[in-house]
């Protein structure tokens, strides 16, 4: 669903879709000022930031030229996926076990990665907690266990191990087990969360299943092996 910014269009809407910039140049400045007052900055630095001084024609033209050049580079680089979400970089995608690498588990979706500024598109208001703890990015992928259990695995890369600890400890432990996994782990009936270094891994199963806990633990160990120490 992504649309790359092209000359003359604004990417101020979070989907990267044109927000309806007025065609008449004399109306564009006022429009930019109004939207910029309420909009959140998206996209690449220096390209899509709406200027409240956009009524200065020379600066607008120079900015438009710069946008064209960088957008051309983007086209070459082939951005895929929705605005603010890209399929996992080499690093993040490598954290997720491939299909059948962990016995019984199949990877059923591509890995999606969200930069910190766009994390709200994935977890809405839940992003605030992660931002305060210093999240840098989050990656997610879907899995299925033996056609019986569907799950989602999220990996949050924090700025530091302290941030990862803050996230893990932000929720009550309840009656969670504490298996030997990563630096610290909690295993509930249908979910597993652990931290290793600056990373937090959460695996949530959507169904209740008698062997769910063992299956989640196996997948968690598969991810743990791939995380850098």
């Amino acid at each position: 669903m992504s649309r790359l910014a092209i000359r003359g269009e604004s990417r101020d809407s979070y989907q990267g879709m044109p927000s309806g910039m007025p065609k008449a140049p004399q109306n564009q400045g006022a429009f930019r000022r109004r939207v910029a007052a309420f909009d959140f900055y998206h996209g690449l630095p220096g390209i899509n930031r709406l200027s409240t001084e956009g009524h200065r024609t020379g600066q607008v033209k120079a900015a438009a030229r710069m946008k064209s050049c960088v957008c051309a580079l983007l086209l070459i680089a082939a951005c895929i996926g929705s605005a603010g979400c890209k399929h996992g970089s080499v690093t993040e995608a490598a954290f997720f076990p491939a299909a059948n690498e962990v016995a019984g588990w199949a990877k059923t979706s591509a890995t999606r990665t969200f930069a910190a500024a766009d994390l709200w598109k994935y977890i809405d208001g839940g992003a605030e907690k992660y931002l305060k703890a210093g999240v840098q990015s989050a990656s997610t992928s879907d899995y299925k266990f033996q056609d019986k259990l569907e799950a989602v695995a999220d990996i949050y890369s924090m700025a530091s191990a302290d941030g990862a600890r803050e996230i893990l400890e932000s929720e009550p432990a309840g009656d969670a087990k504490t298996p030997p996994l990563g630096d610290s782990a909690r295993l509930h009936r249908q979910s597993l969360v652990f931290r290793q270094g600056p990373r937090v891994v959460q695996i949530v199963a959507y169904q209740e299943f008698p062997e769910a806990q063992q299956a989640l633990l196996d997948l968690g160990r598969g991810i743990e092996k791939r995380l850098p120490r």
Binding site: Q15, M17, G20, V35, F40, W120, G125, Q190, V204
Partner: protein, 339 residues
């Protein structure tokens, strides 16, 4: 706020205005006791909130039984409108020729989103009440989110449509109220005469809870701007945006599965099968009632109150205040009916 409430407010305002002249005289003559009595007489009637539950909603398994969901919805609606036939409430809400939007909540992902079977039951009744299938649109922010939680995206005008705002985009113009300024989904502005809000009952890490009022964050292009300070007063201000306020007629909160901690995402360890619906035309009263349900569940699980965790949902009181009047959060003015 729906038209019935607006009419009641108008008549109350007119009444109070007429009293104002008399009030000035009364104050001058120290007749405050009589003035207070007059103001008491102008207090509106209670907001009704119906809680419908069915312990056998899932039969012997974990998936919802569609016929029981339909019955649950009918029971809730009949109790809310005090009518005997399942179709009658819907005929009071909508009439043939209108376009009806059903704003679901898919953000929590699978496990904590508006249930497809509940929405199907709503669509069933709307069609039976005379709304053409193609005039019903189920929607939220993105097609991917909808599909991920089990909806089938379709823009076919011969059947109930279902798609995200990413299909049509947002309006060009900003609309503003108080602290918010946003572009509205074109689904609301161009495809809805009436909006039915189908939120989910859940804890929210920032706002405290996320129920009917906060589901309107999915209508605007920049919800991320409005999470500081526990989403207050932003939630209330968003709901004051004219098209949201005037088109929303009904709130059906999906509490088949609800969340009492760790929201707004799905955390199975902090979710429970409430197996119910909360229905009201007053979103503030609904949110207040839902908040109390969450607090009771938290207490059962020996968790602190949201107040103790410094995240009580302040936005509810703001939505009820004199500047907003989106409904009431006064328990003395909320009639909770359990069916």
């Amino acid at each position: 706020m729906d038209l019935m409430n607006q009419e009641r407010l108008t008549s109350r305002r007119g009444f109070l205005k007429a009293c104002a002249t008399g009030a000035a005289v009364l104050r001058a003559t120290k007749g405050t006791a009589l003035l207070n009595a007059l103001q008491q007489a102008a207090v509106p009637s209670k907001s009704k909130v119906v809680i419908a539950r069915d312990t056998a909603l899932r039969g012997s398994g974990s998936t919802l039984d569609s016929s029981r969901v339909q019955s649950l919805l009918d029971r809730a609606m009949q109790a809310l409108f005090d009518l005997d036939h399942p179709l009658d409430p819907w005929k009071k809400l909508v009439y043939p020729g209108q376009k009806v939007g059903i704003k679901v909540n898919a953000l929590g992902g699978r496990g904590l989103s508006s249930d497809v079977q509940l929405v199907a039951a709503i669509c069933q009744r709307l069609e039976e009440a005379g709304i053409r299938a193609g005039d019903i649109v189920i929607w939220d922010r993105e097609n991917d989110e909808l599909e991920h939680v089990g909806f089938r995206v379709s823009t076919d005008g011969n059947r109930v449509r279902c798609f995200g705002t990413d299909t049509l985009g947002y309006e060009q113009d900003l609309v503003t109220y108080g602290t918010v300024g946003s572009q509205l989904s074109r689904i609301l502005t161009r495809n809805c005469d009436v909006l039915i809000n189908v939120p989910v009952l859940k804890d929210h890490d920032g706002a405290g809870v996320s129920i009917a009022l906060k589901n309107m964050y999915g209508v605007i292009h920049n919800p991320n701007k409005y999470h500081p300070n526990g989403c207050n007063p932003y939630v209330a201000d968003v709901n004051m945006l004219p098209e949201i306020r005037t088109k929303t007629r009904l709130h059906i909160c999906d509490t088949t599965t609800a969340c009492y901690e760790g929201g707004p995402g799905f955390k199975p360890e902090f979710s429970w099968k409430y197996n119910g619906l909360i229905v009201s035309q007053d979103p503030v009263a609904l949110d207040y009632t839902g908040w109390q349900i969450i607090e009771r569940k938290r207490a059962e699980n020996k968790l602190k109150t949201l107040e103790a965790e410094k995240r009580a949902p302040q936005y509810i009181a703001t939505a009820a205040d004199a500047q907003h009047r989106l409904g009431t959060n006064d328990p003395k003015r909320i009639a909770v009916v359990e069916v």
